[in-house]
């Protein structure tokens, strides 16, 4: 009998169980590669598949251990027991606690943390509250806060999940314009597909952090110490939700933060146009590595 070697991609997915705010959560984690841990945080209403291209980039995987997990309620992570009786709401405290619990459960030492959108906000909270625990923070589509002319409609009993609406279609439609016009067709629609698969109320619950609870216009970001946790901000120019000006504003408030525009990209750089994004990411990672070498020397 002839056996054929399986054609697996490099990423390996496993589950961990973490306690967050007194509730037990079964969380899905994917990782690939060897080297400096690069912990990746997905956007609101999506999951770790957004980092699929990074998990398949040989050059990246030769130097970094790329790790991505699905927040509870997202992707292959379960909601905690009793979810059916609650409205899901992501708060700053819950988000930070979840990330730190994942790091603890995985035994990761000083990862680079990179997040997009709500993840781009979360890296600010993480750098602020737990800076020494990170080698660096990379905020994609970061901002101190976010607003929308449709906020009243978003919060109208979460219009995207009303019984007379198709939640998946609604959630995906709301983000579909945030993708750059030159994104490859396949990656544009994969990005949209992820949003079609969210559970009811999950995207809206994440937006609570994005629009309300995670608001950082309180001056606290000035306390981020970039000598301890360097902060890099990369912004896609087609993002009208977390636009480049929002990241520039962060950079103005955080001494030592480094901001770069990503022409051609929108709100989901790593998912909508991975190759273009990697072109912007690699120099940042190189700089972090070089800094680490300098510190070590």
């Amino acid at each position: 009998m002839t056996t054929v070697a399986p054609c697996f991609e490099p990423a390996v997915g496993r589950y961990i169980t973490i306690d967050v705010e007194g509730r037990r959560n079964r969380v899905y984690v994917e990782q690939a590669g060897e080297g400096i841990p690069l912990l990746c945080l997905h956007t609101a209403g999506a999951d770790s598949r957004q980092y699929r291209a990074l998990m398949n980039d040989e050059r990246l995987l030769s130097q970094y251990r790329v790790i991505a997990f699905d927040l509870p309620y997202h992707g292959k992570s379960s909601p905690p027991e009793g979810w059916e009786r609650d409205d899901y709401l992501l708060t700053s405290d819950r988000y930070v606690a979840t990330v730190m619990k994942v790091i603890e459960a995985l035994g990761i030492d000083r990862p680079i943390v990179m997040g997009c959108s709500i993840g781009g906000r979360a890296v600010l909270h993480l750098a602020l509250r737990h800076g020494p625990k990170f080698r660096a923070a990379i905020g994609l589509q970061s901002g101190l806060h976010a607003e929308s002319v449709f906020n009243a409609q978003y919060s109208d009993e979460a219009i995207m999940n009303r019984p007379e609406a198709h939640g998946g279609e609604m959630c995906s439609m709301l983000i579909s314009g945030l993708i750059g016009p030159e994104a490859p067709h396949k990656d544009r629609w994969e990005t949209i597909w992820h949003y079609m698969q969210g559970g009811p109320g999950v995207f809206a619950g994440d937006l609570y952090y994005y629009f309300d609870d995670g608001d950082l216009r309180n001056g606290l970001v000035a306390n981020i110490d970039t000598a301890v946790c360097p902060l890099y901000l990369l912004s896609g120019e087609y993002d009208y939700s977390a636009p480049p000006e929002a990241a520039e504003e962060v950079a103005r408030h955080v001494a030592g933060a480094k901001y770069s525009l990503m022409p051609g990209l929108g709100h989901f750089p790593m998912s909508e146009d991975p190759e273009r994004f990697l072109g912007y990411l690699r120099p940042v990672l190189d700089e972090i590595r070089a800094r680490e070498s300098g510190v070590a020397a």
Binding site: S148, V149, F150, Q153, D156, I159, M160, R162, E164, A165, H166, E169, M170, M173, L174, S176, G177, L178, G180, P181, E182, W189, E237, Y238, Y240, S241, P243
Partner: protein, 119 residues
């Protein structure tokens, strides 16, 4: 009213057909002195009667409409929601209807502007 070619292209698209299966609404699209009143009904996009009331009205600034027609539109002009969020378009009416049929709206706008589909 849109050309027959535009309506045919829209109505031949499987995703438009699927999304309009249960639609019954009227969209008004305006930019400069151009006006389109469209009915999404009976599984199709068609011109609406002039006296029909629009459920959703979209008004797009002429400069934004011109920019939208470029092969690579600039930021803020690449999508109807980008235009709305950046003050280049005004959207009024029933938002549940708007959100339900926005993919079709995007196809309609792309067809009117460039002869392509959003999808």
């Amino acid at each position: 009213m849109p050309s027959t070619e535009i309506l045919d292209a829209l109505n031949a698209d499987p995703s438009v057909q699927r999304r309009l299966r249960f639609a019954n609404c009227v969209l008004r699209i305006e930019t400069g002195d151009r006006r389109w009143l469209l009915a999404l009904r009976d599984g199709k996009v068609a011109s609406a009667a002039a006296d029909e009331t629009a459920d959703v009205t979209i008004r797009i600034a002429p400069e934004a409409w011109a920019a939208f027609q470029q092969p690579v539109p600039p930021p803020g002009c690449h999508d109807i929601y980008a235009m709305a969020e950046t003050g280049r378009a005004d959207v009024t009416g029933d938002f549940l209807t708007l959100f339900r049929y926005s993919y079709v709206l995007k196809d309609i706008l792309q067809q009117l502007a460039t002869g392509r589909m959003f999808g």
